[in-house]
Symmetry: C3
Subunit: 343 residues, 3 copies
């Protein structure tokens, strides 16, 4: 996309144009936007930055739209609107169609139309790769894997056997899908014995998975990532976890085995979610929170212990160990004092 009229944006993405129907050539944040480009205002607190902006147009909510004298597109969701325009101007690189001679592909596998399969890719038995996939260098795909249309797999991804991936997914470098779930039984000498992990992984459509994230295969039934889930880097999803559609998971989250996360949830960075629990649809978990039991009511949950200087912390934190004693002493006092006030 080189240039587009504001009225064409409104035709594509909705909203209302207020002001002149100019051509714009890119989108950028308020502080770096140039003339002939459009910017966006997501939060009223940045509004005063507009005094010095070079923007020729702006995406803005009706609430924040007053006293702006450049052409405006009024929308109830400026951030999403920005994402759509940015996608128009900044199209993801598409690799040329072709299969590298160094790619090792088993005869029992099927590659559909218009693939890019890059250097040193290895593809196992009975793999199906649908149309328009882009498989970067050094990707390894095991046996009995199905990959949908328009999937992009960045370098150094490993996909084990028995994984099914839907359409339009993006897997970033270092992702591992389908490795053994961490299932172990202890014998009577307390030594570990593997439990075979044969359930595979099923990933829906439009799923993005961040760099070095790991998704284990299920024990008997698959680990499931539903449509539209977005997952950041260094996330661990254990065996038999189910992630509901359109949930977002920030970096460094760990989800233990057999837990079900609802649809439209948001898990903040560094959360630790215990196993065998269920999180309700639309739940939001704050960053670094430990979730130790099921959540049945969607809300914003949080558990981070407030940080402070070591000196302050050392003074206060010691009492956390004695809260029960503090509570009992308080009750004793209440019993001593309160009856007196009645007498």
């Amino acid at each position: 996309m080189n240039k587009i009229y504001l009225s064409d944006l409104v035709k594509r993405f909705g909203g209302e144009l207020v002001g002149e129907d100019i051509l714009i050539s890119d989108i950028a944040p308020i502080e770096m936007v140039k003339s002939n480009e459009i910017t966006f205002l997501v939060d009223a607190k940045y509004k005063k930055q507009l005094e010095n902006t070079n923007a020729s147009a702006i995406i803005v909510s009706v609430e924040n739209s007053e006293n702006i004298d450049i052409p405006k597109i009024i929308t109830d969701n400026p951030y999403w609107y920005f994402s759509q325009i940015s996608q128009l101007f900044h199209v993801r690189k598409k690799l040329p169609v072709g299969i590298s001679k160094t790619a090792v592909i088993s005869d029992s596998s099927t590659i559909a139309d218009s693939p890019h399969i890059s250097h040193y890719v290895v593809i196992g038995e009975n793999v199906t790769i649908k149309n328009n996939c882009q498989i970067y260098s050094h990707v390894i795909i095991g046996d009995n894997v199905t990959i949908g249309e328009n999937v992009i797999i960045y370098p150094n991804v490993t996909i084990y056997d028995n994984v099914k991936i839907g359409d339009n997914c993006i897997l970033h470098s270092g992702v591992v899908i389908g490795s053994d779930g961490f299932g172990n039984a202890r014998d009577n000498k307390k030594e570990w014995s593997d439990i075979p992990q044969i359930g595979g992984v099923v990933i829906g459509n439009n799923v993005n998975i961040g760099a070095n994230t790991t998704i284990d295969c299920g024990t008997f039934t698959p680990t499931i990532i539903e449509d539209g889930v977005v997952i950041d880097n260094l996330v661990q999803i254990a065996h038999n976890v189910k992630i509901g559609a359109h949930t977002g998971i920030a970096a460094c989250v760990g989800i233990a085995g057999s837990t079900t996360i609802g649809k439209y949830c948001q898990l903040g960075g560094g959360c630790a979610i215990t196993g065998h629990i269920t999180i309700a649809d639309n739940t939001v978990i704050g960053g670094h929170t430990g979730v130790t039991k099921s959540i049945t009511k969607p809300d914003l949950y949080f558990s981070v212990y407030p940080f402070s200087t070591l000196k302050e912390w050392a003074k206060n934190a010691v009492h956390v160990r004695n809260l029960d004693s503090i509570y009992k002493r308080l009750k004793t006092l209440e019993n001593m004092v309160k009856p007196k006030t009645n007498s």
Copy 2:
């Protein structure tokens, strides 16, 4: 394994057969088991699921064995028994013996009998790989590495120089072993200077290591993982850590430098263990717990701050910063009230 008599299971794994000695063809959980298959009951709370099961036989403890009228194998450890039967029916895939022409193997290295060495593997100088190892595609092995018998190394694993791995180990994709320990000294301008890390890594027999886990080499002496340790995904084991035999480490755990974890310990997911401490044998650490000092008495330890809705959290958490003040005010009150009761 196609089919096996219950009496043959008892011969292999112990326990007592109660009921008819039937042939079974697989094992599965209660809710998915089919006719002619065996199931297992690990927890009494699932017992009522047995009312509708298709299982032809069951593994069960004596406590939970009443009122079950299919053939039973009575054992004091049904979960381990299940793992053994599942291993019979679901044998891990074995790659065909052979060395890919694209594997790059130095002349100074020795590969013993019956290896599978897959595409684009790179093996450095003075490496010894013992019998029956399976090295998947794109594994990189440095110099002066020894790998025991029956080891399986999944794709995209990197092993640095000076690593010793025992027999029957499994390394999942993305594992990095022997990378530099994080040892740095600050000069008088507070700029960092590397401390050479030359101690290597020693891994015992029967060790499983999960996807994208990292184990750093020691500074002067090796980082040590003893026999039978099982490690989940995305775990960090720093330089000069020692993990005692038969310890289990769940995902996303970080263990800082020079810490010793005892034998038969269990570390829950997302634990953070500080450096230069010692954890006693048989210690269990709950998930997401921060361990800041040595543990000398085995027990179950825990530190997760209870999560709550943001509204509840905001109301309560602020007082954590003031616990010392609360405590002092309580003491003042006690001093004021208690003498009165004596008078």
Copy 3:
């Protein structure tokens, strides 16, 4: 380096020689040092180990130098001094100059003098690699990447497009640099839409990055790692983060988007740093701490909830949920009691 006189060490690294100017052949910690080698004392508590040491010389601060009758180098920074001597004796392996025939390098890229480019490396378009770089096997470098002099990139590293790396950097295996920042906008059905990430990554000189660490590209402007930063394993650095020069980041830290960490900071292992905040220069954050707001005053900050046995924890932790109620009950009591004492 085979052997060196103590006086030559003083010439190179400063300090004062007290005692005979002997030749030493290596450096090692007190408990493993051999005759003709030098050791170092960093902490007075290890001083009694010196009674049985085999060391022929020692690096020590003036405070700890009394009653040691082997030759001493007195310095105010024995730990750094040790690192320098260790670097002399334990030089990092240098791979032979040459480019593997299996490396795939685009014609538009430029490799300067004395490179080692190992097996199956893939290098994209318009890449510049300066003098004396060592690129290990299976490294993937995207388009429009610049890599400075003397850079070492260990196996299985992935560098995306538009990344700039300075001189003397070390990237450990499994590192991913320049993957998409986790920027997503929700539409009115609460489904996620990608925000294009086009800002790239800029890494300064003398930066070390640990195994399986991920550094995302910025949205419009680059993610920035300044000179001399050292980063441990499994660290997540999100889009548009800026890490100030000479900061050290221990393993398993996650830093969310658009946060600025100052210069000379130290982040303990497992910290979770929220997005869009600023941490002052010289700040130290304790391990496993959740940082939820900006820090303007450098100090040592901490937030780990003290761990205890499950039994103790269960008794005390429940009250954390009721601190506000405890506080209010305390105030009520104070109001009841205190006026009485005035009357």
